[in-house]
Symmetry: C2
């Protein structure tokens, strides 16, 4: 089975835990059987493997997410990086071309496209196997999964099937209706459109060439910025007469808001949290390393991270986007391919950052024009390279890097370094990366 | 007028803003007319000066508070430091001996003892002048201020006056009653005991010599640890037949809990706080430099500092002591005579601290046995002294201090320094201060 997981937008709907570089699918909020925690993307990948460990998983995503995916899933998945965001049809076209040209998947093989963030039972992934069978049977060009609605929701699109059987031809698609309309649809046996599409690779490849002028994967990658933004629904689904839908009746949740997330969090609290005995229906996620005490709170979601603190009535938590959009904060925490970056202190003229590197990883070889930096090693061993000069470092060692000097840090073991940045204009854009690698590299 | 302000206990009742080194009277929560903020102790001192700018104010307190008092009130007040805590009678005896022997106040002068933290109108301090007059008239040995009760409170002691006149002899004192008893007292015209006592200096000096064996201030200071703990009420008030009380009918509040504090805070929010339009009766104090967003919150007190985060229903906020007592945190923020100390990051084997010094101030000349330290200057200019070696420093400079080296930092201008501590046993007790001063000193 070939699965393409669409790992979408940045989004601040789970602010302050999610931000422009940390999407909600990477938040480790779900308890694993071994006691640790896993993210949505780890959970989904684990569930896929449990159903069929030979599944080839490709994640279609932006460059900014690829470090998080590598950190969380390792090298087990393929990543198809979109040079820029162009909506779902171009993304699926690129991923399909990637499978054909880079992974040599044949035109006859089934490909299933699926969002990366459904909170579902394992039966959902077993249903994906059924989708594959339906595609192989070839009674339709496109096979969708429809979710049996649990209430007349106004936030999903609807699929109107020809009959109420488990598998049916699709009569029609409906945009997000109001609640009254939704009730009517439910009486007709309508299903929620969960964004799961199955087809033969050749089918989508042909559609892609029909609508976009390109030769192969690399060509499409190169001209991706010029491709028109359009969703798969508009570009393909609405014009395709031969569609089947598989009715899925198991648990399914879209955890796009804190209120939804609170319902599926395994633990009522995460992090250093104390609830007194009068707290009711309160969920807390505390990523800060200071205690958070709740007294007599009711129906609240509380989330704290280096980016900010949210205290929200659960019902109201879905409406926070306009408020969060107004908050202009520099990113204070970021997951990188080499580890993590945490801003400890920022003031005019200087910034103090904690850099944690995985064993064996390294920073890029780079320079800043407008700031000096000082590294103080507080944990682990490694090597710094400053303008080609290598130096072994260990806890207590400091290295001063004047503006303009090209520098990198190579971690032999896990390393923690306190970086002090000094300059009138400290900006994440003041960075030039150099190709040339140090001798040790 | 001589006023002794009793600046009491550490207390965590306003946690996470108050802690063992930062008492609630030093929190700058009250807006001044010039737009800045002032603390309880600053507010009370300003109010005293507004009534009589010639008042001599002495603050009786512990060593741990004297830096905060000096930072907030400067040299305008005398500080009578108690070597250890011995309850109110020994504290008042020491302060009285201090006034007699160090400030040469005569036995006939009036002294008024007053808590440092009443939230009151200016008329309260005008009433202190009346107390002084009553003491000078000499109809009683002790004159108290009684607060006209606004409700039958069970958390204050009561004074039963002989008559309902503005000034009356005192018949009796009552311990904190239950609400039923309190209602009875109110019908008898009883007053709350607010802990304000006025007397001639000689009166209390004699009582002190009666109950404690000492010669003068320095002698009492030296043996303070051996003095029995006893409150002024038990030691003196309950045995004194000649007491008058002045009835005070203006506004008076004891802001010992967050709920009370919320009522008197000038601004609903302090710090970087956003309330959406559905928030009701929510007060927020955010000392962290990250945004705090509230959505649809109701009847809440929220307070965030480097020590922790509190989210409490206002009614419940008075009951947090047992929960806070269980929170074991190292102090993450402290106000010192030379500036402030803020822990930015702590992990096994290292700790990163931001040290901010006032212009012209210096750290003690000290050494640590079990940790190395690295200073990185990020703002200002000054001089370090390491084992007698002086070195001028400016932003970007680093200084490494091996365990055992005696070191200090002297700030010529305002300075900020990032201190990285490295060692297996990092503890605030690992510090030895040396008398010997560096050459520049």
């Amino acid at each position: 089975m070939n699965i393409i997981l669409l790992s979408g937008g940045s989004g601040k709907r789970l602010w302050p835990l999610s931000n422009n570089v940390r999407s909600k699918q990477f938040l480790k909020l779900f308890r694993k059987q071994d006691g640790g925690y896993e993210s949505m993307v780890q959970r989904v990948y684990r569930q896929i493997m449990a159903v069929d460990e030979k599944t080839e998983v490709t994640i279609a995503t932006s460059h900014s997410q690829s470090s998080s995916i590598r950190n969380q899933l390792g090298d087990k998945v393929s990543i198809c990086v979109e040079p820029c965001r162009r909506d779902t049809f171009p993304a699926m076209a690129l991923a399909t071309a990637f499978l054909a040209d880079e992974r040599h998947v044949s035109r006859d093989e089934c490909v299933i496209v699926c969002p990366v963030d459904p909170y579902v039972e394992d039966t959902y992934f077993q249903a994906l196997k059924q989708l594959e069978q339906l595609v192989e049977e070839g009674n339709a060009n496109l096979v969708l999964m429809g979710i049996e609605p649990s209430y007349p929701a106004d936030k999903y699109g609807y699929i109107i099937p020809a009959e109420k059987a488990s598998v049916s031809k699709v009569l029609e698609f409906k945009e997000k209706p109001n609640v009254e309309k939704a009730k009517e649809y439910l009486q007709q046996g309508a299903l929620w459109n969960a964004g799961v599409f199955a087809f033969k690779l050749g089918y989508l490849l042909d559609k892609a060439h029909e609508l976009i002028d390109f030769t192969d994967y690399r060509d499409l990658f190169g001209k991706f910025e010029t491709v028109k933004k359009i969703s798969f629904d508009y570009a393909v689904v609405e014009n395709e007469p031969s569609i089947e839908v598989l009715r899925y009746i198991g648990g399914w949740r879209d955890v796009g808001t804190w209120n939804m997330m609170a319902e599926v969090m395994t633990d009522q609290t995460l992090g250093e949290v104390i609830l007194d005995e009068t707290c009711v229906n309160t969920n807390v996620v505390n990523e800060l390393n200071i205690p958070l005490l709740c007294m007599g709170t009711k129906d609240l979601i509380i989330a704290a991270s280096g980016d900010g603190i949210l205290v929200a009535d659960k019902e109201r938590s879905g409406y926070m986007k306009p408020y969060v959009d107004k908050i202009e904060t520099d990113i204070r925490f970021a997951e990188k391919s080499w580890g993590t970056y945490t801003v400890l202190d920022a003031q005019p003229g200087s910034q103090t950052v904690k850099i944690s590197l995985h064993a064996g990883s390294r920073l890029s070889y780079h320079a800043h024009q407008f700031r000096d930096e000082v590294w103080t090693v507080v944990k682990g061993r490694g090597c710094t390279v400053i303008d080609d000069m290598e130096q072994e470092v260990r806890p207590g060692d400091t290295v001063s890097i004047a503006a303009g000097c090209v520098h990198t840090l190579i971690a032999d073991t896990e390393m923690d370094v306190i970086e002090t940045q000094i300059g009138e204009e400290i900006s994440s854009t003041d960075k030039r990366v150099f190709e040339r690698q140090a001798k040790k590299v």
